[in-house]
Structures are given as structure tokens and as C-alpha cells.
């Protein structure tokens, strides 16, 4: 094989997407400062999955680390996309809520503690439907309580993406970091096709899906903040930057009128394409970030 044709940047970088949730969370912290909370050996598993013939996982697919990022206290909450699509159930939801609440409590006591959400999730776990929905409500309310004191930083790296109820958690976070491979949206492509038909949205058209939900488009439209390469070091550095920046002057989800006006200004008489939308919205005056 002729190695000279291969980009050294690509060969030398440490892929973030190829790491599992535990390794992703760990690589964000300052060396030797992180400890896992409620780890696999505590065996807090979902009590609902075995009743439905599904093998549980010892951490319920939600991994919590506490430590320091750039010298500041922080907690990372990572969803394992390979286990049940990174879905939120009773246990994983409670773990996430408790981690956010403890960070808020520390912050209120004068020790600002940032939270990093590593979201690879299709949203609520269907096998635990109502409990999962309740968990999302708690997660959003805990994230809102924390973000007054310290930044809540979401990373959507791929390959699962971040959809459903958990996209709301991404929506209320202070900063969102995405890769080109990552996708972020309320309804996933398959759900839209199933509910509205293939004419509305063709879930097999990957170019279309990434043109709408993909990281490049989300950052381009100002609905996410940083577009990064699939590089663990670059992502960790970006997180450190946002931890240092602290709470933003105004969160995206506080600008309801701004976004309402933006949507109202769109001419819906013809089908707008993703590139035009990105151009329009990125040029809008009053874009905060």
C-alpha cells in the first residue's frame, strides 16, 4: 500500500467515535483526576428489561465520571449507543438526573461544577416507556437548574446521533459540540418516514438525512456551536474551552422570540433546501453564537 497518499492528520489522530462511552468520558478529564460513580460492579441494572426477555447491562448504558477538566470540577454523563441504542430507561435516567443534581448542589455551595453530556441515544427506551418519559422531564429540569451556575456541554459525535427526548437535553444545554458524522434532531429519520410516509422523508436517503440532521448543518444553522473532527484530543480541548468560558450570556433555548420570528420569516410556498436554509440562518442578524 502506498502510504504517502494517506493524510497523516487522519492516520495520527485518535478517533473519538471508535471509543466506547466509558473511554469517551474518561478522555475528557485531566490525567488521573476522574473516578467512575455507580460503576458496573455496583450492578444497578434495569429491572424491566429481563421481564421482557432482554439482557440488561450492569451500568444500564449510562456511565458517570467525576473529575477535573482544565482544573475545574466537572461531571461527564455518557450514553453507550451500542446498548439498546443508548436509550434512557428508569435506571440510566435516574443516574443522569442524580449526577446533574449533585453538580448543581456543588455549584450552589460555591464550587461550580460543569456537566458534559455525551449523547449517543435514540431517546426514551421503549421497553420502559413511561419511566423513560418521566426521566427525560427530570433530566431537562435538572439541566436547567445546573446551567444557571455552570455550563452544560453536549457532545454528539456519532454514530447513533441524538434524537427523541434526549435531543431536548441537548437543546437546553449551554454549548453543543458535533462532528460531521453526528446527527441531532427531535424525530429520527425512520420515525418521520413511518409517521408521514416516504414522500415526506426518505429514511434510506443518507445524503438527505445528513444534510438536515448532520453536524455540519446544525452548526452551520447556529443550532449547535462547534463542528469538530473525529479526534479525541480536539474534542477534549473544545470541552476545556467551554468549561473555561463558563455560563453563556444567553442560552439558545432562552431566545424563543428570536427563533419564532426566524421560522415565521421562512417562505413555505415552495420547498426550501438545507443549503439555502443554512445560508439564510447563518446570515441572520442577531445570531448570538
Amino acid at each position: 500500500m502506498n502510504m504517502t497518499n494517506l493524510s497523516p492528520e487522519f492516520l495520527n489522530r485518535r478517533s473519538f467515535i471508535e471509543l466506547d462511552a466509558r473511554a469517551r468520558a474518561q478522555c475528557l478529564f485531566d490525567q488521573g483526576t476522574s473516578t467512575e460513580l455507580v460503576g458496573p460492579f455496583d450492578r444497578i441494572e434495569s429491572p424491566w428489561l429481563p421481564r421482557q426477555g432482554i439482557a440488561p447491562q450492569s451500568d444500564d448504558g449510562c456511565i458517570i465520571f467525576k473529575g477535573k477538566i482544565g482544573g475545574s470540577p466537572a461531571v461527564a454523563i455518557a450514553f453507550e449507543g451500542a446498548f439498546q441504542g443508548g436509550s434512557v430507561g428508569e435506571v440510566s435516567g435516574a443516574k443522569m438526573t442524580a449526577a446533574l443534581d449533585l453538580a448543581a448542589r456543588d455549584s450552589e455551595a460555591g464550587k461550580p461544577t460543569s456537566a458534559v453530556l455525551l449523547l449517543e441515544t435514540g431517546g426514551v427506551r421503549l421497553q420502559e416507556a413511561n419511566l423513560g418519559l418521566a426521566a427525560v422531564a427530570e433530566i431537562v429540569s435538572s439541566a436547567l437548574a445546573l446551567r444557571r451556575h455552570a455550563p452544560v456541554i453536549t457532545i454528539v459525535a456519532g454514530t447513533v446521533g441524538c434524537f427523541g427526548g434526549m435531543s431536548l437535553a441537548a437543546g437546553v444545554s449551554s454549548y453543543t459540540i458535533m462532528t460531521r458524522e453526528g446527527r441531532l434532531g427531535l424525530n429520527g429519520a425512520e420515525v418521520i418516514e413511518q409517521e408521514s410516509g416516504v414522500d415526506e422523508f426518505d429514511a434510506s436517503d443518507r445524503a438527505l438525512i445528513w444534510a438536515i440532521h448532520g453536524g455540519e448543518q446544525r452548526v452551520g444553522m447556529g443550532l449547535a456551536d462547534s463542528l469538530v473532527e473525529d479526534d479525541a484530543d480536539e474534542i477534549a480541548a473544545t470541552v476545556r474551552g467551554y468549561v473555561r468560558a463558563g455560563v453563556p450570556a444567553k442560552h439558545r433555548s432562552e431566545q424563543v422570540e428570536f427563533y419564532r420570528k426566524r421560522i415565521a420569516a421562512i417562505d413555505t410556498s415552495s420547498q426550501i433546501d438545507p443549503a439555502t436554509l443554512r445560508q439564510k440562518w447563518s446570515n441572520s442578524k442577531g445570531r448570538v453564537r
Binding site: A55, P56, Q57, A82, F83
Partner: protein, 98 residues
């Protein structure tokens, strides 16, 4: 879903560390390996696929014929092949013996 329990009384070698490897994703499994409390090895398996008790016993017999550590192993399995199971067990064993 099936629950399998096995014991290996001849596995008595002292192990002091613990290891967690794998993920309960399709065709994969997680292995939790920790020192045994009573000095011999015990294995529990929770698998989403029924009817492969003999295959599980064969794979674990082979693993313990070489490993011989007094450990408690718990496996959550989402349909891994026997080869995959053995690789994950060996990965966990390597992690505790490093």
C-alpha cells in the same frame, strides 16, 4: 431469556483485581470478572438467547482449563457467538493479570 449458573471448584488461584469488558450490543456481551469470596470460581450468565446451555458450559470449561483463577464472573449476553465469548473472557483475564 435464560439464566445459567456454573461453578469451578478446582479454580483456586488467587486473583486480586477486577475487570469489566464488552457491551451488551447485538452479537456482543459484557463480562464482569472479580475476585471470588469463597476461594473458588463461580459463573452466572444472563443471555437473551435460549437453549445454548451446553455451548456455554463448553466455552467456560475451556476457559477455566487454562485460566484457573478463583473469580466470580457475571456475563450479560446479547447473542454473542462462542468464539466471541471466549475472546471477551480472555480479554477480561488479561486485564486482571496485567
Amino acid at each position: 431469556m435464560e439464566h445459567i449458573e456454573l461453578s469451578y471448584p478446582e479454580a483456586k488461584r488467587l486473583i486480586t483485581r477486577r475487570a469489566h469488558v464488552g457491551v451488551v450490543g447485538s452479537g456482543d456481551l459484557e463480562v464482569l470478572l472479580e475476585p471470588s469470596r469463597d476461594g473458588v470460581a463461580h459463573v452466572t450468565v444472563t443471555t437473551s438467547v435460549d437453549g445454548f446451555g451446553d455451548a456455554w458450559k463448553a466455552v467456560l470449561d475451556r476457559f477455566f482449563s487454562k485460566f484457573g483463577g478463583a473469580v466470580r464472573i457475571h456475563i450479560n449476553d446479547a447473542g454473542a457467538t462462542p468464539g466471541n465469548v471466549l475472546l471477551r473472557l480472555e480479554q477480561a483475564a488479561e486485564a486482571v493479570e496485567q
